[in-house]
Symmetry: C2
Subunit: 256 residues, 2 copies
Amino acid sequence: MNIPHILLTNDDGVDAKGIRILAELLSNFADVLVMAPDGARSGAACSITPHTPLCYKKKSEYSRIQVYACSGTPVDCIKLALEQFPDFKPDVIVSGVNHGDNASVSVHYSGTMGAVLEGCMKGYSSVGFSICDFSSDADFSAIGIYVQDIVQWVLEKGLPKDVCLNVNFPKNDGDSYRGIKVCRMARGSWTSEWYEAQHPAGKKYYWLTGRFVNLEPESVDTDMQALENGYVAVTPIKVDMTAHHVINELKELEKL
Amino acid sequence: MNIPHILLTNDDGVDAKGIRILAELLSNFADVLVMAPDGARSGAACSITPHTPLCYKKKSEYSRIQVYACSGTPVDCIKLALEQFPDFKPDVIVSGVNHGDNASVSVHYSGTMGAVLEGCMKGYSSVGFSICDFSSDADFSAIGIYVQDIVQWVLEKGLPKDVCLNVNFPKNDGDSYRGIKVCRMARGSWTSEWYEAQHPAGKKYYWLTGRFVNLEPESVDTDMQALENGYVAVTPIKVDMTAHHVINELKELEKL
């Protein structure tokens, strides 16, 4: 069997621990091309850079890992890598491991998952990994076997059309994870989001913080519930955001 | 009846023609609070600003339109306005009019629709407007009656839970629009996205451009098809991105 090709990015930047760990894990069974932002792009979502020219440069090269840093967003990284390295045809596109979870509605804000959606929109099997640990020195020691099993399963079976995977790991509390749960996104919302501060000259400014509220804490089939119970949460995410279930109801608008 | 309250933002920036036109149209029947980016944030998607403090300032005030400019993204604008103006309880959140369409997969990259999704996640009825015309002097002369009818319909009926509207107008070619079609997102993809240029000192850089490809040009129920045929395209968009239809199939992953 030919050795698989994996294109890897993230949103914490090319030097983050999460992407370095992930590149090493993937290089056990694949050739890895890293094209990642040259610094943190947390909360970048699917954002792109239409009004500023981008550049990229080689950071390092190992036997199975080439590393490039790009001045753009995670989505820019995927778009640029696919056109700049046409001979490196990815068998799967991977993003992460994000420092901090991307469960529930955080998918919408996540640069990690933005890159995964971009890969999916381009027709590639795409998988994002995140861990419920915001520390820059997060403990990734329990993820190895899960990363390998999930990515190899995807390499072997493929993913349904226009569907990608959002994989979240619980924070490592010393026990091993309890297994994998396939989930749906929990309904949730962020609240109390701003921390007001004052510039020495008197002007007010605002830091985005906030507290996540799970709006369905009793539901047993959500990503939040799986994570709380020590499972690796795998949520299939689709490109089509149409609310098909309300189209008939909204046809009334056509009579305006 | 009390006069409705509308919170308005966009991603082209507070001085763009599209948001000025929209504020005026909405002020015919509502009090309008504008909190919009202080410059262009095209392609901002649902991005947020976690690592830089934000500020905002009053730009102008008319009898029914207050205008504030914010240093953040469209999503930041919605989050900030809702906490900074707790007495201005929006009956609907509106975004746009974007200069350029946000049909098909462009929803994922759109800062206009990012703000709309944010409003929706916060439980507000939310509507985004865009026009298939990238010109900074785009012709909005045909949109007035549609904006009014759609927003008033939403004010009266509300929207289904966790669903928002993505409204796209055809480019104005002089004829009036043919009416409203309620649609689904077309499958589509961007291709040939980079324009390579050279810095005078020799280094290469890359501008994001690209060409959109409608992957289902024959389908009659898509937003792209409606726009091509001169209709105003209204696409309901949902917060839940879970690919529910493949969850059972993916349960195989739980056995890894």
